[in-house]
């Protein structure tokens, strides 16, 4: 044993091909990146809340990016850009999907590991390298990318236009290309594992909704990320080699550039063809996790299992034909605008179905409020609150006046940012015993939830008012406009909540680290859940089950199933998927 100690360590913790270890690697890397993104948002909220005032913390953290504790305007844009990139891709795509797809797909479908453990490891390491490069880009000359996370050219293509479009942007593109490769390899693996590695009896209609969500997410990723890669490649050529795919007729810094014939609109098309499905790549796993948590914790079957799958499929499909709603104001053909309005508003229907199904699942349930339940309920709330304003933004005639204002910021942070991060927290709390073999502290968990939901609504809800007052996004300060003078106190309020939200996350990080090392040992099935992951031993080893993989006999949502006399069928309020069907019992939620 001890002679191979270093080797063991290396292959157990670093170059592991075990999906559970890779899942933990994704989780921790994702959270670290998320923490960086969080600090960035706090820093620029300081500037927005108290413009022009100097802060010691800004001075400490931002070095030469500020003058006397006040950040420079282009560095503000760098922070905004990096915050968006890190949160959307590194935390909520890789961190969320990478963690839970890896952990739950093999465990919940009954497989010993992913279809290809090696590719899985590769996926993580590409992600890791990409994260490192993205962080390095903060320290190059000219600063990090600062053209917004949507990196529209020509701003992102011309260092003359903004310093961040120099080396910072180059590293951004390299990091994102590696990230895309990581995401593609991961998604390939998830899809094949779900299709090919299910245990006996685990038909597609017996899959937990988590797996359906991860499966559809992976399909979205495989179809949309390559298009972003092609956009990034074309942009790289424009930036570095003098082609003109996106650039045309530009006069900057006192001279006319050589580029002719290109169109930035082309980039927007390519970008948003990924960009919109990306919203659902972020959101679907969170919805899947919530479905599972809500059903387990209300001790009720999820209402409308098939409708839930159907609506997720509808959302996935529609997400590919709505990208134009980000481009209503680019001078696109008005008829095309009408088509995109129509398809965009259609997404409201499957989303509404999901919300009502969640509500009905809670109705007459028997709810245990673990931190995971709280965050799931928080997710349903943010999904509603952020979702309804989509009806304003998706309608092209209304979009004109709120496009690129704080109304949009409020909308997508609530519906996509908060929902996804709430789903991720719900997942971490719920599967913490599976991840670390220990229980996470409940009281600190609910404290974390309460700080988070109160302060995050406090941050993003008032933004709708700012937007309706015409306040544009990505402004370094609003002091140049007399019409925005009366917004000062709103911005201050938002910033106070933002700082509170950040402090709330410290509670979580403390709880996470403490419980992972010193929390009480977890039992095998702490939540009395039906799904297969709780039939595996608490300690981790490669292969998941001693002996044979269990056979599945029923759908995963037989909670509180009663017989004709009104007694629980097997004397308990849950029936694991491995329990064979009784003589008169029907599967799939039928009595």
């Amino acid at each position: 044993m001890s002679t191979h100690h270093t080797k063991d360590f290396l292959f157990t913790y670093i170059f592991s091909t075990d999906h559970k270890m890779i899942s933990k690697q994704f989780l921790i890397t994702g959270f670290l990146m998320g923490f960086v993104g969080l600090i960035m948002s706090t820093l620029f909220r300081l500037q927005l809340g108290w413009p022009g005032e100097s802060f010691e913390v800004v001075e400490l953290l931002m070095g030469s990016w500020q003058e006397d504790g006040v950040m420079a305007p282009d560095k503000y844009l760098s922070l905004v850009t990096m915050h968006g990139t890190i949160m959307v891709f590194f935390l909520l795509t890789a961190g969320l999907s990478g963690t839970f797809s890896n952990l739950l797909i093999p465990l919940q479908i009954g497989a010993r590991d992913m279809a290809s453990g090696f590719m899985n490891m590769l996926s993580y390491w590409f992600f890791f390298i990409s994260s490192v490069i993205m962080l390095c880009s903060l320290f190059v000359e000219g600063g990090a990318a600062s053209a917004g996370w949507t990196i529209y050219p020509p701003l992102s293509a011309l260092p003359q236009a903004i310093p961040g479009s120099g080396a910072g942007m180059t590293l951004w593109l390299i990091a994102m290309s590696i990230f895309i490769v990581s995401s593609l390899i991961g998604s390939l693996n998830y899809i094949v594992t779900v299709l090919n590695m299910r245990t006996k009896g685990m038909s597609m209609t017996r899959l937990p909704l988590t797996i359906w969500a991860f499966f559809l997410t992976a399909i979205l990723g495989v179809l949309s990320f390559p298009v972003l890669l092609s956009a990034a490649l074309l942009l790289t050529f424009d930036r570095s080699f003098g082609t003109s795919f996106f650039l045309s007729d530009i006069y900057i810094g006192g001279q006319v550039l050589d580029h002719t014939g290109g169109s930035p609109i082309l980039f927007e098309h390519l970008f948003w063809f990924l960009g919109h499905p990306e919203v659902y790549i972020v959101l679907l796993p969170a919805l899947g996790i919530t479905s599972e948590v809500i059903s387990t914790m209300t001790r009720k079957p999820i209402f409308g299992y098939r409708a839930m799958i159907g609506s997720m499929m509808a959302i996935s499909f529609l997400s590919f034909i709505v990208w134009g709603h980000h481009m209503f104001l680019t001078g696109m053909n008005p008829f095309l605008g009408s088509v995109f309005t129509f398809t965009t508003l259609l997404i409201a229907i499957p989303s509404a179905v999901k919300v009502f199904n969640y509500l009905t699942t809670l109705w007459k349930g028997n709810i245990k409020f673990t931190p995971a339940t709280l965050f799931s309920i928080g997710l349903v709330s943010t999904f509603i609150t952020g979702g309804v304003t989509g009806l304003v933004l998706g309608n092209s005639a209304l979009d004109i006046n709120v496009h690129d204002t704080y109304f949009v910021i409020g909308h997508f942070h609530i519906v996509m940012g908060l929902s996804a991060i709430f789903g991720m927290f719900a997942g971490v709390y719920h599967w913490f015993p599976k991840l670390f073999g220990r229980m996470i502290n409940n009281k600190l968990g609910s404290l974390h939830f309460w700080i988070t939901i109160v302060s995050s609504y406090g941050v993003f809800f008032p933004m709708h008012f700012l937007g309706l007052a015409g306040v544009p996004r990505r402004y370094y300060t609003f002091s140049e406009f007399p019409m925005f003078e009366n917004m000062v106190d709103i911005n201050e309020l938002i910033s106070v909540f933002a700082i509170a939200a950040m402090i709330g996350q410290l509670v979580f990080f403390f709880n996470f680290v403490y419980s992972a090392f010193r929390g009480p040992k977890a039992p095998m099935n702490p939540w009395k859940s039906n799904t297969l992951e709780w039939t595996t031993p608490v300690e981790h080893f490669h292969g998941n089950w001693y002996g044979d993989i269990p056979t599945v006999h029923r759908w995963p949502y037989d909670y509180s199933k009663v017989d004709a006399n009104g007694e629980f069928v097997y004397g308990e309020d849950f029936i694991p998927q491995t329990t064979p069907l009784g003589d008169n019992e029907k599967d799939g939620g039928e009595h």
Binding site: S230, T243, F273, Y546
Partner: protein, 197 residues
């Protein structure tokens, strides 16, 4: 026990046999989306109006024939392997490799022609169309290099008689990818022929 199960080589072979084809198919889907992105970029950017057509170099036409032939040749090898005729299989793989390299060569000749006729990849003189033409053909070659590497692996394994009538998954995966590259090129060729050239 289970730890042993997942480390044992039989289990690993089993996994490979079961999963390599589906993995490849889904990877192909994402490559299709990648080239779909590129070619639709061509369509979108031409919405604007007039452009100078580029004469399609003869090299590209020849390479189209070459890659179609190579697909058939490579496929005969599989039939040979099913009959465990390793001599024939070896010849077919070597021939495919040679055809693949000639494809690369004719593509290169195509670029030389383009360059000589004043169509450049980048720079002031280049147009969007000429850049797209170089870039798309180049990206196809980049994918083809992966195919050539897999051909070399297949060749080594054929020589070592690792395939037999029951187990030829490795060969089939490489073959599917090669067919895909052929099909992709034919699509790209006609697409470029009628949109740019």
């Amino acid at each position: 026990m289970a730890t042993i199960v997942s480390n044992n080589s039989h289990y690993k072979d089993e996994l490979k046999r079961k999963n390599s084809k589906p993995l490849l198919w889904i990877a192909l889907v994402s490559i299709v989306m990648f080239f779909g992105g590129m070619t639709s970029a061509v369509i979108v950017s031409q919405g604007g109006g007039s452009f100078i057509p580029i004469p399609m170099p003869i090299g590209f036409t020849i390479s189209t024939y070459i890659i179609i032939v190579s697909s058939f040749v490579f496929h005969f090898g599989l039939i040979a392997i099913k009959k465990e005729n390793y001599g024939l299989a070896k010849i077919s793989v070597v021939l495919t490799l040679i055809l693949g390299l000639s494809f690369v060569f004719t593509q290169y000749m195509g670029w030389v022609t383009l360059h000589d006729n004043g169509f450049y990849l980048t720079g002031k003189e280049s147009t969007q169309e000429s850049s797209f033409l170089y870039l798309i053909t180049g990206l196809h070659i980049a994918h083809l290099i992966g195919g050539l590497i897999s051909l070399i692996v297949v060749l080594v394994k054929t020589v070592k008689k690792r395939y037999n009538s029951d187990d030829s998954v490795g060969y089939q995966v490489s073959l599917t990818y090669w067919h895909f590259l052929g099909g992709l090129w034919v699509y790209l060729f006609f697409f470029l022929r009628y949109s740019i050239a």
